[in-house]
Amino acid sequence: MSTSRPRPIGLLTATLALLRKDLLIEWRTRARLNAIIFFALATLLMFSFALGPDTKLLEKNAGGYFWLAILFASVLALGESFRVESENACMDGIRLAPADARAIFLSKALGNTLLLTALGVLLVPVMVALYGVRIVTSVVDLGLILLLGSLALSAPGTVYAAISSNARARDVLLPLLLFPLVIPALLSAAKATTLVLQGDPMRQFDSWAGLLGGFNLIYWGVGFLLFPRIIED
């Protein structure tokens, strides 16, 4: 038997330990990453097929299609992040360790943010090639929106993935719960991305980015406070 007695660890240490575990599992399997990349690529491609040869329409709405592809792919990523915990009741093992439930929320939400941000980075050149758009303002602005948008999908997505993970119809339940809630964030991210791609003569970018930041404060704050009640009996 271990000679050292367990001692409580801080929220940050627990979050990093759990995030490291999630990234290790992702790295060893790469199943989730591969699935969401192909799904998002297929979605972008489908939009271009559905609209036909009207390149003007594609150019005009590229920001929206880009974020819809990320949103649809996020459902796969979020669901999978809790499937790993359902197998062999690993979530119980983590809870009873004991790990702070807020650390579980932060690690899952940050892991999902990293995954969605990486997906966005991969999708940008595909969007440029498929829709014939270019980055007019700055890459930094696009990176900022990508990060804020991924954060805004991940926090409520993690909460709802946890809620739906034990439901029989979890694959249906997660998008039903998530999509209505993230509409404001999706709108802000799509508008800001469109400004990056088409120019921003009225200097509206900061307003949309600020709004997205505000949604993030709400989503992450509520998730942080609610998550312990969600995963306990």
Binding site: M1, S2, T3, S4, R5, P6, R7, P8, I9, T13, A14, A17, L18, R20, K21, L24, I25, R28, T29, V84, E87, N88, A89, C90, D92, G93, I94, R95, L96, A97, P98, A99, E232, D233
Partner: protein, 219 residues
């Protein structure tokens, strides 16, 4: 060495647990003195696993109060969780991680000073040191059980909750498990054991609680 406590190891006050319309435990009252070990017996569905999960704080009672080492299992959940460890039907193991990685994750959450070393020591203890770098997905049922035991030992609990610990083990594994339980008891750990192997259980535990449809009855 686990801390000694004057409070009963566990105390159940009118504890009930309901799943939907079915009562898994019905107004159960019982106290286990400190330093004694308990054998839980009863047919499948009698409430043994539910009781162990209540004691582990994996569940909350529908009614009544559960105390572990004098602490309320709902109000002081984190403190109770630090003192108890559960060997469950579910292994709590990540299939895609290796045996060593699984234990290292837990060791980090436990705040142990050298997580990797602590994980290696427990793998050696349960005879899995040669397979420490194999993913759990490649393990047999018996090996998973051994790894789950290593996970429990890593926690150095004051109370060990063992749900069918002999299941899926071969005869050598059962002997090893008996030795581990005896060692746990020797080091002052309170063992609460649920098993259908009553003869083996009686040699390991001083007290017995027989459950039938969620109620304590004479064995």
């Amino acid at each position: 060495m686990p801390p000694l406590s004057a409070a009963p190891a566990l105390a159940l006050h009118d504890v009930s647990k309901r799943y939907g319309r079915r009562w898994a435990l019905a107004r159960l009252t019982y106290a286990l003195p400190a330093g004694r070990s308990l054998l839980l017996t009863g047919h499948n569905g009698s409430g043994k696993t539910t009781l162990l999960r209540l004691l582990a704080t994996a569940l909350s009672p529908t009614a009544g109060r559960v105390e572990v080492l004098g602490r309320d299992a709902v109000m002081e959940r984190d403190a109770v969780r630090r003192d108890v460890a559960l060997l469950s039907h579910a292994s709590f193991l990540y299939e895609d991680l290796t045996a060593h990685q699984n234990l290292t994750v837990l060791a980090r959450l436990l705040g142990l000073p050298s997580p990797a070393d602590a994980a290696s020591a427990e793998l050696t203890r349960v005879g899995l040191d040669r397979r420490s770098d194999s993913p759990v997905r490649s393990f047999s049922a018996g090996m998973r059980k051994r790894l789950a035991i290593a996970r429990l030992l890593l926690k150095a609990p004051t109370i060990a909750l063992l749900d069918e610990p002999f299941g899926e083990l071969d005869p050598a594994g059962i002997r090893d498990m008996e030795a581990i339980i005896a060692e746990l008891k020797g080091s002052g750990v309170t063992v609460i054991l649920a098993t259908h192997l009553i003869e083996q259980g009686l040699t390991l535990c001083e007290e017995r609680l027989h459950l039938q449809e969620g109620r304590a009855v004479a064995a």
